[in-house]
């Protein structure tokens, strides 16, 4: 793989770090969280695809990556299914 790709990805990651810090100081209401998470997911995807070479890896590697994120999704989504639908809040 040409070294240029690594440097380009590094530059994008740095820019995204700058961007996410700057955006944190703007008042976007609820969108602050979404923007921060979107940037983080984008950064993580770049690291996985290029630094970790998944873009050039067999399908099985893709399956493991997607599977692990999917299982994390199960954990978060089903836990929140409870917490976001409780009609009361304990110990507040």
């Amino acid at each position: 793989m040409p070294l240029r790709i690594y440097y380009t990805i590094f530059a994008i990651l740095m820019f995204c770090t700058y961007l996410t810090v700057q955006m944190a100081f703007l008042d976007l209401g609820e969108w602050n969280t979404f923007a921060a998470l979107a940037i983080a997911i984008f950064k993580a995807t770049l690291v996985v695809l290029f630094f970790m070479h998944v873009k050039y890896s067999p399908k099985l590697t893709w399956a493991v990556v997607i599977g692990s994120v999917f299982w994390l999704g199960i954990l978060l989504a089903f836990t929140m299914t409870d917490y976001l639908t409780r009609g009361w809040r304990t110990y507040g």
């Binding site: 299914t81 409870d82 639908t85 409780r86 304990t90 110990y91």
Partner: protein, 538 residues
Amino acid sequence: MATLLLPPRHYLNDGYGIKSWLLTRDHKRIGLLYLAAITLFFFVGGAMAVLIRLELATPVGDLVSDETYNKLFTMHGVMMVFFFLIPSIPATLGNFLIPIMIGAKDLAFPKLNLASWYIYICGGLFTLYALVAGGVDTGWTFYTPFSTVSSTTNVIPTALGIFVTGFSSILTGFNFIVTIHRMRAPGLTWFRMPLFLWSMYATSLIMVLGTPVLAVTILLVALERLFHFGFFDPAVGGDPVLFQHLFWFYSHPAVYIMILPSMGVVSELVAAFCRKQIFGYSFVAFASVGIAVLGFLVWGHHMFVAGESVFASMIFSALSFLVAIPSAVKVFNWTATMYKGSISWQTPMLYAVGFIGLFTIGGLTGLFLASVGLDIHVTDTYFIIAHFHYIMVGGALMGYLGGLHYWWPKISGRMYPEFLAKLSAGIIFLGFNLTFFPQFILGYLGMPRRYHAYPPEFQVLNVLSSAGASILGVGYLIPMLYLMWSLRYGKIAGSNPWGAVGLEWTTTSPPPTENFAVTPIVTWDAYEYGTRVKDHVA
């Protein structure tokens, strides 16, 4: 047939010293190391069960104090769940058979495999220490805030033991996944694999994806208990129910870690002793993976009365019912395989049939518990106890014993005594049902779990249960004795005593250290009985 002899060179006579065992990287020897260790923990856990049932023979708490009783059922659960059932089939039969069944020389990571055994032993010793130093009284579920704030017993050492052992389970699962993906013999495609391998693969997925969540949850409990961090503590606004979410995210799928391997064993047994291809092979294979995946979507049914939202309870309830589908697919397909098969009733088949019957009862009562309304009535009663013992003992343990008998000639090179084995299989079946069926009724009548005393009107059923437990105990001791006896005095088995198909029966009994002299090339489907079997008979 000429008199059979043991092969001159095999994995058991490839070195005799203590080092040749404790530093071995041979998956077969590691499987036997695990076999010895889990048997020890099984009998420790069993001793607790004996004391529990003795105490419950009378309505008043006369044998042990209430505090001791709490420690007894906690240690019984911890030992049986984490140190016996979870590693039972995967770490022993799985370790021994997976490389042989796929035609490989060993697992992908033999050193990690040995490391997993040592990690398991470390975890076990921690837990044994906790037991000797006074025990722990939280129940095997470690519910907060009792485990973090109130309990004055050895929560930390026990939790540490389970945390450490979790890594051995992760390593086992991870080794199996890589091995099954990467080390299959030429020609052995996924749909030519024996169903035991499919079930071990599904089990490994759960081990790898579920166990870490338990590990981190235990870590948080330890932090909260040691340093008064707040994660589940209402005093700082935390929610104890969140602990239950995280705990059951692992511990519900963990039930499938226990039952899926047994299902794999039963598929092998039913095919071998009915001399037929498994009916609907691919359905059974996908059902294993389906159970593994669905198993992760149902954990909330443990919390219907814990303060979970009604909406979440409904979702979890509906998803829980779905697990019945792949489970039923398996039961129907085994039955369909037996239909018009030429069944030979040897000991492993007795266990297989026992499994199918008892698992069906356990599974169907699981449906009762999946429905919110009924579950609220029987939560924390003996109905639950009976239900999960039908799955874990009637199911998982029956499959384990069936598999142990079926592959014993391969493991040891010698046959077990058939008459005694059939007798003890009968004793176990009888003792099991006598122990646990009354508990369904007790639970339905409202007897709560985890109490050392109860109203006198429950005594008849409790005495029945205790009597059954003593029969069950005898049933477990007999196989241990005659299997050890057979190591030396058993009839020489030959490479394929059952006339079964499958790569493991093509090598010698016991197999050589490298499993096969030449890497096999597989050109046939699993269970080609009737067409290929004649080439196989020794």
